[in-house]
């Protein structure tokens, strides 16, 4: 088992020498790789690259896809370096609920008497009548189905522990396949402790195993590009990262695995799929991670294709969600950063957790209601993102504000003050509705809300409450007037979650270019991988394993002339 190496000096070989030496040796790239990675160079548009580190497999992203990719590559004899731009591992997985959709008839299913097979799993995830399976790449699903049981075994072998009780799922599965990992036992390493962030147990156990097995994890190394022999041709040689202000170049002798977690936090990129998703829409798991589409962009820079893009805009999945915690910037339904979380200083507030949506109305950036507040369907999201009449903002609907009164605060048992609310742009209070409108100042609220407009909205709604029927949006049984001072406005703009499309791969997780050809040495897994719209963790783990395995074994394949 080879280990990662660090360059003893930055010996520079230009591209001409590089190719000449390979040709002289008669074995091309493999011979150069075998001489010591630090001596290899490559062109990256701006001339030669000097490698600071080298490993057989370099994984970009230490999350739910990257960690199993690294472990599996290491299990198959490769030296492995993982880079992650964050200060700690885990990606979004560390903040997830830890629900792993793993089935096919594994040992825990058998123990619980759940009948399942890989074929049953395949048939579920190619259903035409479910949005999460309709647009799937069935080649990927076939492999996914066949790899589920080995993936469960892999998790158990690497220390992951499951609660032995399945969760019933409304996804495409027809049998119980969601099993929850146990939360990590050190609260400060969970980042949102005591809030069911059981995904921490998944990634921390894999991190523990990866480190024991000799995987090197370089934190605060942000990948900025993937190095390929030629811009759109040849094999992938490594990556360029930035650590602080220092460039650090890492050679990958066998493969680079993109496991960067998706594109939700990249406004420009997400608008490829839905132009309405402008800057006001925040994303779940921020500010711990931001899903910046780094992997997608770097791969596309060297020719990679997107795949199965229909998945991103199916109107039933969790790519966009209703906030549950209002009055803070990031109020994703299952995620609360408590004041003792290491992330609280950035998150700034826990939010006010809504028990009953009857206690408020939602208004858009013009102070107008737009939908039944008790609804959380995609109809609600479409209405929230509708053109509001603002000629300066044709795309996106602008901020959405929850408006409520002192009686609502009493009913919900809220304390509308820090640390529960973020008064720096995401929560406001005032003695009257017109003053409340005037108080709303937020980076995404481009023009002030008219006090008269908001007053008219509230008065009209109060009339519906008195009459017992919502004549505008059919809110069922509108119960409570908004009338008792003081009044409140809380940020409740829908928040983005899943990345459901990404880079095209084959069933070995090898990245495919825009002409349908494999990019040798480049792999992708997790939310950056296209073709599969399953919400959650398992597709990341399965294809991470596949990528790690194939990359580690690739040297043998290449010498035999295969990919």
């Amino acid at each position: 088992m080879s280990k990662p190496t660090r360059a003893s000096g930055k010996a520079e070989v230009n591209r001409r020498n590089f190719l000449a030496r390979g040709a002289a040796a008669g074995v091309g790239v493999v011979a150069i790789a075998g001489t010591g990675a630090h001596e290899a160079t490559a062109q990256n548009g701006n001339g030669s690259i000097k490698w600071d580190y080298a490993a057989d497999v370099v994984v970009i992203g230490a999350g739910v896809a990257g960690l199993p990719a690294a472990i599996t590559a290491r299990d198959n004899g490769a030296s492995v370096i993982i880079v992650d731009e964050n200060f700690d591992i885990g990606g979004r997985g560390i903040l997830s609920g830890g629900r792993v959709q793993v089935g096919g008839g594994h040992a825990l299913q058998q123990k619980l008497g759940i009948k399942d097979t890989p074929d049953m799993l395949f048939n579920d995830w190619v259903r035409f009548d479910h949005s999460e399976s309709r647009y799937a790449d069935r080649d990927l699903i076939r492999v996914f189905a066949d790899e589920n049981v080995p993936t469960y075994d892999f998790l158990i072998e690497n220390g992951v522990e499951f609660i032995e009780k399945p969760i019933r799922s409304p996804d495409a599965s027809t049998v119980d396949r969601i099993f929850v990992t146990k939360e990590w036992h050190i609260p400060s390493q969970v980042y949102a402790p005591r809030r069911g962030r059981n995904g921490s147990g998944l990634v921390r156990r894999m991190e523990e195993s990866a480190r024991k097995k000799g995987v090197q994890i370089f934190l605060k190394h942000k990948m900025t590009s993937i190095v390929r022999e030629k811009h759109n041709a040849g094999r992938v040689l490594g990556i360029v990262t930035i650590a602080g202000s220092n460039p650090v170049n890492i050679q990958a002798r066998k493969g680079v695995i993109i496991a960067t977690g998706g594109h939700t936090g990249n406004v420009n990129f997400r608008r490829i799929f839905d132009p309405r998703l402008t800057e006001e829409y925040q994303q779940a798991c921020s500010p711990y991670v931001h899903q910046g589409a780094d992997g997608e962009l770097a791969a596309m820079d060297i020719g990679a294709s997107l795949w199965s893009t229909a998945n991103q805009t199916v109107d039933e999945a969790a790519q966009i969600t209703k906030t549950r915690h209002i009055g803070c910037r990031w109020g994703y339904s299952s995620l609360v950063y408590e004041p003792d979380s290491p992330m609280f200083q950035q998150a700034r507030a826990t939010g006010l957790t809504v028990r009953d949506w009857q206690n408020m109305i939602f208004v858009n950036q013009n102070g107008k209601r737009f939908w039944d507040e008790t609804d959380g369907s995609h109809g609600f999201f479409h209405a929230a993102m509708a053109y509001s009449g603002d000629k300066t903002k044709l795309n996106g609907g602008g901020p959405i504000w929850a408006i409520f009164d002192a009686d609502a605060v009493t009913r919900e048992k809220w304390k509308p003050e820090p640390p529960h609310v973020d008064r720096d742009g995401y929560f406001f209070s005032a003695d009257t509705i017109p003053e409340l409108a005037a108080s709303i100042k937020n980076p995404y609220q481009k023009a002030p809300i008219s006090g008269a407009a908001l007053q008219e909205t509230v008065n009209r709604y109060n009339g519906f409450v008195a009459a017992g029927a919502d004549a505008d949006f059919k809110k069922p049984t509108p119960l409570y007037k908004i009338e008792k001072p003081p009044f409140y406005a809380a940020w409740t703009t829908p928040i983005l979650h899943d990345t459901l499309t990404g880079i095209r791969t084959n069933t070995d997780s090898q990245v495919i270019d825009i002409r349908g050809e494999v990019i040798p040495g480049l792999y992708c897994a997790g939310e950056s991988q296209g073709g599969f719209a399953q919400h959650g963790l398992t597709r990341c783990i399965v294809f991470g394993r596949i990528a790690g395995r194939h990359a580690a074994r690739r040297q043998i394949a290449e010498t035999s002339g295969a990919r």
Binding site: R99, S333, D431, T432, E435, G463, A467, K484, P485
Partner: protein, 313 residues
Amino acid sequence: MTEESGGALVHLTVSEPLPLEVPAGDARAIMARASCPDGRDRTGMAIAVTAPDGRTATHVFALHADGVSETAAITLAAPPHLGVHVFRFTLSPHEIAGTHYAQAVLDVPVCVTPQATSLAVWDVPSPVVAGTRFVIKAGAKSTAGVALAGGAIEVCTETGDIAGRGVLSDAPLQDTGALYWTDIQLKAPRTEGMVTWSARFEASELNLPHDGANTSFSVAVVRPPEHVLSVRVIEQATAEPIPDVELRLGAYRGTTGASGLAEIALPKGRYELRLWKVGFEAPPRPVEIGADAFVEIEALVVPEEDPDARWRM
């Protein structure tokens, strides 16, 4: 900018578009800027600002960039009178590196506007039986935080008749900054139906100029109740009573107690009985009231929206 004879020109400007619009009694911060064709640095020099009342203060140029010298923020306090008031900015004649610069003067007009007031109306009972008396609460707030104690809020009917009047309290409502409030006694119309009445606050008596405020509120006016509808809500699977269920029959409402029972007084007629409680569901049920009646509703438990709403344990 003006300049007097006998020297090179200095151009004076301010950081905000003119005229400034400032509510009476409020202040606005602006920066003064001085420049000349040869881009001289005037940091350390002072500019005099003469307020409409004749008082003069000086402010020093603190920054110089791109040929423009700029002061720190200068606070202009708007006089408590409506109209246009002029603040005069004067840079005295001075000499820099052998060049003599003439006095420069800039008049900054400040358009003083009224402060705003706004209203809140609450504790409006609904429904109200036709022809009966009821009480609402109403409060007024000045954007300047001026004490509005002693002012009056009037309620007018849809035809403009004054339905009631209240004098604002001496102290603001608890938990508010400066919302002065009052009870207002009202009498419901004699015919049933939804009415929308207006509340208004006249601000003409205040020392600081203010605009008045208007708002509206709705009242469901109903016939006197004749019968009692008893509603019991139980859980479908267990038959256990469900407390705190909100019941509505149009404008009529009730809430179940610990025994799952609510009693709602209402006149004869046909209604649609709806219920609401988070975590429970039951379809609306038509109810016809011709005498006292009892209805039992079985509600289905639906899991409360949990943090991971896409999955149910």
